[in-house]
Every structure is written in structure tokens, then in C-alpha cells.
Symmetry: C2
Subunit: 490 residues, 2 copies
């Protein structure tokens, strides 16, 4: 399969031509959410970025198996130190629910939000609790290969030993010796030989919710293990793409590389792809800073930092307006700008539908199309793609004004361009179609019945009859009452 698609590989730190291992098949694994709270803007960006990649690969003709996990156990409060309470169990206690009820509740919200953002569902959405045996088998392999050790019913990955043979830190650029010098003492974590060792299996305290029997203890898997286990289970020992947010590079993805390499003797992932973060008004978005906005809040405008609601497509457009490797600052101005841009794009599509063809042409649609592909082929450059599409918008609007000319063939090509790049690849759809229609219909009907009333008073029966006939054709019945008229759908 021919393509000119290049993408930035975080592991080699350069753009590389994309060549899958077994074309036309592509295997892609993306880190999904830990489902213990409402989905927020930080979830929207990777979901949309990797949806764009998925859609583009599908468009290029690849058969993509897209795996995105659901973390429903083992993600602890203190990620870096690999300590603290399980995030889901903590939330379950807070909401007085069974942990699996918490998982189901926030997984449902996540799915609803992702569907609102028009992201395509992954081919497989495996859950950590659904792969406990597979994770235990993975641990056994690591124990056999000597890169893991058991201590008091828990099993840890031996980072020091691993780094003697392999390069721990190659993805994130961290250097283990420096890390070790900076690190805190091993207070209360005396089971670990080194502070950067991480848990593969944790022995559960008595009363711990969510635990499973194992040969080591009743316990639960470490957070990093599920991704190595499930990606290899569903995509094979070596697969094409692993994606996720930049914040996951260390320790999560670094630990994944260590686990897979230690178990298999070679690396699993061919292209590591990372999206950059979202900031709010220039500040890092964090629960602790109180500038954390959920997607439902964005869509309804119900957060104090928001001046108005922003629709799912506005958020999608906003995210696509930035290159995925740049930071993206969330502000009301930027969102309002995205709203206007999206509207302009959608209106141009309608104008295009109504455009009357000329006999000769002043535009070159093929050139724009080529540039659109070049933008995506250059590391998925969606802002450059959008700039090209706005050049098309300018030409369409000029053609309407008569300052540019488009033939029937130009118009057909332009429609194809919009269909492929706007709808199929960028995944932007027209939200105004259904917007406030109920209110609009009732407003228009009030106006029409007013005109009909006046016409009848003026004995202009031609007009009042015409109104009745046209309404009946639309399936609307008018019933005259003493003090006015009411209407209903037949």
C-alpha cells in the first residue's frame, strides 16, 4: 500500500515515514481513561487526536485494529511513587457505591461524551479487570526472565537490573542514575529494592475492595502492567502504533517499554505517538488548581470559567485547530473563535450546495486537494489542513459573489473535498441541522398563523387558502378556535 504519510515518533525524536509491519493491517493501541470521574477536556484531546489518526489511516485504505483500554483497577493516587489508594476504590467510598458501579457510571459518561465529539469507537476496548489472568501470566514471564522479584506477596519490576541490560529512560529521556539521586527515601516502601521499581502485583490489605487470588497473594495488578498485557494480547508481540498523552511518557510508557522488552527480549512498539496537553488561560489544568472543566460542563456552559456553552463540534474544531504536538490553551476567546470558524466552514458547505455553475473556471480544486493531503502527510498537520479548507471557503464565497467562477465539475470536486476532509477525516459535522428547531418551528408557525389571521380579516382568502394548503402538505393541521388558532402535526 502506497502512502506518503510521515509521523513524529517520540522514541526516535524525528518524523518517520509510516510503514506498517503487515500492510494493509495496522495495529494501534491508545491509553484510555481511568474511569473514576466525569470525562474532561484532558480526555477530549487524545480521543480526538487519535480519532483523526484512525480516520486518516482508514481513509488511506488500511485495515486498522484500534485498541483503547479502560483502566478500572490499580491506578493509584500517587502515580510517580506508585503508592496511595486506588482511585476507583476511593471514589466508590465517597459515593457509597460498589467499585464496579463507579466504573460503569463514568465509563457510560465517557462513551456518551466521546460519541458527542463524533469520535469513532475503537475496535476493542479491553478493561484491566477483564485481563487479570493475562496479567498474572505476564508477571510469571517477568519473574522467569529475572527482571521481577517477589517481596511479601507483592511482585516488583527490577528497574536497576533492567537498566543493566536495556536502556531505561529511552522514551522520556530520563537518566536512571540522576533519578535515583533526586529520589526520596524509601519510607514505608521497604519491599522495593529501589525507589523506581514499580509494582506488577500488589498484595491487598485486609478489607481491600477489588482483589483476586494469585500464587503470590490476594491482590491486584500494578497500573502499568495492563497496557503491556492487553496491547500484546490483541495486537501481537510487535505492533505499529502506541499513542497517549505526553503526561503518560513517564513513568507509564517508560514502564510499559521496560515490561514488554524484559518479557519479550525486544521492543513491542514501532511508533510512539504523543499528544501535547491542554492548558487553561495559560495555566496547567489540574483538579487542585480548580480550573478543571468536564466535557458536560463545557457543552452546557455550567463552569464559572465559561462565558457560554460550547458545542461538541466547537470543541472538536478547537482541538483540531492546533497541531497535536503543540500545547493548546483553552480560553473563552479561543473557543469563540473556534465556534465562528466552524460556522464559516459549515456555511460554505451549504453555499456550495446552492452554487450555480459557470461555464468557465478561475479556481484549481485539485491543487487545494493536493495541499490537504500534504498537510496530513506531514505529521498529521490539522491546522495547515484547516487553512487549506478555509482557502476553499474563500473561493466558494467569492464564487457566490461572482468574483470567482466555478464550473459544475469544480463544484462536484469541491463537494468531494468537503466530504472527504471535513466530514470523513476531520470528523466535523453540521450541528445546526437540529439546533433549536422546536423553538424555530413554533416561532415560524406563530408568524404564519398571524399572517393568516390578518389575511382573513382583510378577506384575502387567496393568501389564507395558500397557507392552509402548504401547511397541510407539510403535515400540519390548523384548527380555528374562538380566540385564535392552534396547530398540530397530523
Amino acid at each position: 500500500m502506497q502512502n506518503n504519510f510521515s509521523i513524529y515518533n517520540s522514541l526516535t525524536r524525528r518524523k518517520e515515514k509510516f510503514e506498517p509491519l503487515n500492510p494493509p493491517f495496522v495495529g494501534m493501541y491508545v491509553c484510555g481513561p481511568t474511569v473514576y470521574s466525569d470525562a474532561h477536556l484532558g480526555h477530549a484531546r487524545p480521543a480526538i487526536v487519535f480519532d483523526l489518526l484512525y480516520r486518516y489511516l482508514l481513509h488511506l485504505g488500511y485495515r486498522v485494529r484500534y485498541v483503547r483500554n479502560i483502566t478500572d483497577v490499580g491506578h493509584l493516587q500517587d502515580e510517580e511513587a506508585d503508592e496511595g489508594e486506588d482511585k476507583i476504590i476511593r471514589q466508590a467510598k465517597k459515593e457509597k457505591l460498589e467499585p464496579m458501579e463507579v466504573v460503569q457510571k463514568y465509563m457510560n459518561t465517557y462513551h456518551r461524551n466521546m460519541s458527542q465529539l463524533n469520535t469513532l469507537p475503537p475496535s476493542i476496548e479491553p478493561r484491566a479487570t477483564g485481563h487479570i489472568i493475562e496479567q498474572q501470566e505476564f508477571i510469571k514471564k517477568l519473574l522467569q526472565s529475572g527482571f521481577a522479584y517477589e517481596a511479601n506477596g507483592s511482585v516488583y519490576f527490577d528497574v536497576v537490573k533492567y537498566s543493566e541490560k536495556y536502556n531505561y529512560g529511552k522514551l522520556s529521556g530520563r537518566v536512571l542514575d540522576e533519578l535515583l539521586q533526586e529520589s526520596r527515601e524509601l519510607e514505608g516502601r521497604e519491599d522495593k529494592r529501589s525507589p523506581f521499581d514499580f509494582a506488577l502485583w500488589k498484595k491487598a490489605d485486609p478489607g481491600h475492595l477489588m482483589k483476586w487470588p494469585s500464587q503470590w497473594s490476594e491482590g491486584y495488578p500494578g497500573w502499568h502492567l495492563e497496557c503491556s498485557t492487553m496491547s500484546i494480547k490483541y495486537l501481537g508481540e510487535v505492533f505499529d502504533i502506541h499513542g497517549g498523552g505526553m503526561d503518560l511518557m513517564f513513568p507509564h510508557h517508560e514502564c510499559e517499554i521496560a515490561q514488554s522488552t524484559a518479557a519479550l527480549g525486544r521492543e513491542s512498539v514501532r511508533y510512539w505517538i504523543h499528544n501535547n496537553m491542554i492548558t487553561i488561560n495559560g495555566q496547567k489544568m489540574a483538579r487542585s488548581l480548580g480550573n478543571f472543566i468536564t466535557l458536560d460542563e463545557v457543552f452546557s456552559g455550567s463552569h464559572p470559567l465559561l462565558e457560554q456553552p460550547y458545542s461538541p463540534m466547537t470543541v472538536r474544531f478547537f482541538i483540531l485547530q492546533a497541531h497535536y504536538r503543540s500545547t493548546l490553551d483553552f480560553s473563552n476567546e479561543a473557543l469563540k473563535g473556534a465556534e465562528k470558524g466552524l460556522e464559516r466552514l459549515m456555511k460554505a458547505a451549504i453555499t456550495l450546495d446552492r452554487l450555480k455553475p459557470s461555464t468557465d473556471s478561475t479556481v484549481n480544486v485539485d491543487e487545494i486537494k493536493t495541499k490537504c493531503y500534504e498537510a496530513l502527510d506531514d505529521d498529521l498537520n490539522s491546522p495547515v489542513l484547516l487553512a487549506q479548507l478555509f482557502e476553499a471557503v474563500r473561493l466558494i464565497n467569492s464564487a457566490r459573489e461572482g468574483t470567482e467562477k466555478m464550473t459544475a465539475s469544480d463544484i462536484a470536486k469541491m463537494k468531494e473535498l468537503f466530504s472527504v476532509f471535513v466530514k470523513d477525516i476531520l470528523g466535523l459535522i453540521d450541528e445546526s441541522a437540529g439546533r433549536g428547531n422546536e423553538k424555530i418551528v413554533s416561532g415560524l408557525m406563530k408568524l404564519i398563523l398571524d399572517i393568516r389571521h390578518e389575511a382573513r380579516q382583510k378577506k384575502d382568502f387567496a393568501t389564507s387558502d395558500k397557507i392552509r394548503e402548504e401547511l397541510s402538505r407539510l403535515g400540519i393541521t390548523v384548527r380555528d378556535l374562538k380566540d385564535g388558532a392552534e396547530w398540530e402535526f397530523e
Copy 2:
């Protein structure tokens, strides 16, 4: 918690007052789909029946934990003989997909359809593959208690031994001795001691997809085991309600009772509730008979047996029109009848909103309300409830005609009645709100611009100005062109 709710218990074969074990908590487990093909009418009925039960229990003030499983492994082609190929693996081979891709695909369709039918999502939706360890632990208990035996790497439940101590067949009314006399020889199933023994763990053939290590063999769990395991895990050893279709009574639910009783020494389920089946034109609905209609086909009208599309709410109304323990025959006439009935109910709600109050009253809303509760309290009698609601519809329509009178207080009570029984409990919502509105808006706009054009030709500027102003108030801009006018939302 006080209630007068009675429900038919399939186990005792009589209506019983509903008294949960630990009020206000209620635990309810319902058998969900095996996700290897598109959801069909046979899935809609249990989903809607148990949604009605869930909604009524919530309305009565109970805190319900509603668990509905997803079967994604171990359901074999020949259910009765407990033999044949795994349904999901078979479909995976057919579609050239990984089994988990098949699971994800049809699970997504099922969720979409269930949401279209306005069923509330369960509190927990556990999957069989997500509970392999738990199922293995359950098997160990059965082996310890002596009601299971291992044979060549598989483990079977010993039905004959169980029936010496307990009553195998108590739910379905089958008698083991008779079953054994009627049964076929044990050809090719020589691992089983008796033909009615069923697999708890099956040793996988080489090359079998979807298998897990165990102390007995690399294999997979039997179909019946997941429900015993997951219901007890999430609802406790004894819980209130177990629901499912009547076709699951034997062997599935009978085997569940045997498993749980053998493991715990007592029964788990307090109320067994079963919905009856859907037939098509009087005939059993079956793949082999070619009268099998998927929900997407019903909603789009794309099956040869369908004369038109039927909306999700029409299907919901149709199912609620029958008592859940009666068979329900799917025919075009019946569906069209349901469509009309639903429309009449929804129109009455609109009429109610527009009704002008009288100073005195000829109706007794409280009496209708009491009868509505009586209907639901009597074994969830939704057809009787609907008959009561149509009595309310008749009164509302008469009030509009002036032949009945309703005070402001009557109207308020009637609105409350509709909100509680139609929307909250029956889960019926008005689909016409968004229906074809785009077409309606464009039709109404064409009419208005025509009238405006005529008014301007007649120099009736009062009318044409009024139109422009009102449209502008609705956010619609009109742009005059040489050959007519076009409009757009601002």
C-alpha cells in the same frame, strides 16, 4: 419502606408481595445478550420489561443495584446439549475478525439500540471474560462440595448427584428421570457421566481462540457459570430478583440454581421473574425460519416483513401494551396500532399543556392515579396501566371539546400523572419533537418567503416588514437575490 407491589415468582408459581431482603436496597440480576450478532426484537422485550421493573422500583423509592451481564465467551451453538462451537468464535471466523472485535462491535450496537429504546443503563454490566478467575474459584467450591467432577481437563456439574440432595427441575418443572429417559445417547460426549451434566470448564482444543490457563487445562468457562458467579459477586449470596426470558428457564436458569445451591447450600434468588416470548405473525421467531428482525431493521423498515419503519418508541409502546407474561405477536397491524396509540397519548400531553382551566370540575384525577398504581402493583400490569392512561386521554380531549371540565388543580394533577407514569415509569418520550424538523423548517421558510414576495409585489410593506422582523427575532437572516431570496441562521 411501604409498598403494595406484588409480582409473579416463577419459582413458586404465584404472585407474591415484593419484600426485599434489605430495604431500601434491592439487588436485581437480569440475563443480558450474547454479543455475536445485531440486537433483535427478542432482545428488546426483556430489556424493556426489566427496565419497567427497574423504573418502578426506583419510583417506589428503592435503591436498586441492577446488574445485567454481557456474555462474551462460552455460549455454544447447541445450548441444550451444551455442545458445538462458541457462537462468538464462529462469528469471528465468518467476519475475519478477532473474537473481541466481534464482541465490541455487537456490544456497541446493543448499547445504541437500548439507548434508542430509552432503557436506563444497568448499574453494572459485567462480562464473562472479565470474571474468569471468579468462575474458576466457583468451580473449586463445587469440586470441594462434591457436586462437580473433573474429566480429561474439563469439569462438569454432577446433576444426578445434585438431584439426590436437591430438587433439580424445580424452576422449569422438568423431572430428571423423565429427561434422562428421553435423552439421546452420549455420543462423543463420553467425558460426561450423564447427558444432563453440564460443563463448568471446558478444555480447549488446540487452536481454539479465547482460552485461559487453569489448574484443569487451558480452557474456557461453561455458559451457565458466569451468571451464578457474577450475580453473587455483585449482589451477595442471597439477592432479591433474577430476571430473564422464559426461554432461559431451562437449562440456563435451572443450572444456575443448581450451581448456586450446590456451592452455598441454599438458594440465591428470592424472586425469579420471566418475560414471555415474541412471535411474528403467530410463528416462533427464529433465525432458521427467516422471520428474525433486527432492531435496526425495525427502526428503518428495511426487512421484507415490514410494511414501514417503526420508531423505537413505537416498539417500546407495543411491548408495554402486552403483559410481560403473555406472548406478544409482532405484525404490521399491531405495530401500526401501537404507533397510533402512542401518538394519541403524546398529543393528549400537548393538549393538556394548552387546556384552559374551568372553575369547577367533572373529573377525578386521584381515582385514575390510584388505578394506575393498582395496575403496576398487580404484577406490573402495563396494559391495564395504559388503559387507565387512555381514560385520562379521553377526559383531556373531552375537556378541550368542553364536554368535561377540569380545574387548574385537575390540570396540574393530570400533568403530574403523565410525567410520573408515561415518562418516568413507562419511559415513553415524545419523538415528534425533533422529527423531520429540518424539512419542516425549510418548508415553512419557503411558504413565508413566498408570502413576503407577494406582499412586496402588492406593496404591502407592513406584512413584508413584519416578516423580516419576526424572522430576525428567531435568528434567521433573509438575503434578497436577483431571482428570489435565500435565508440562513445567523
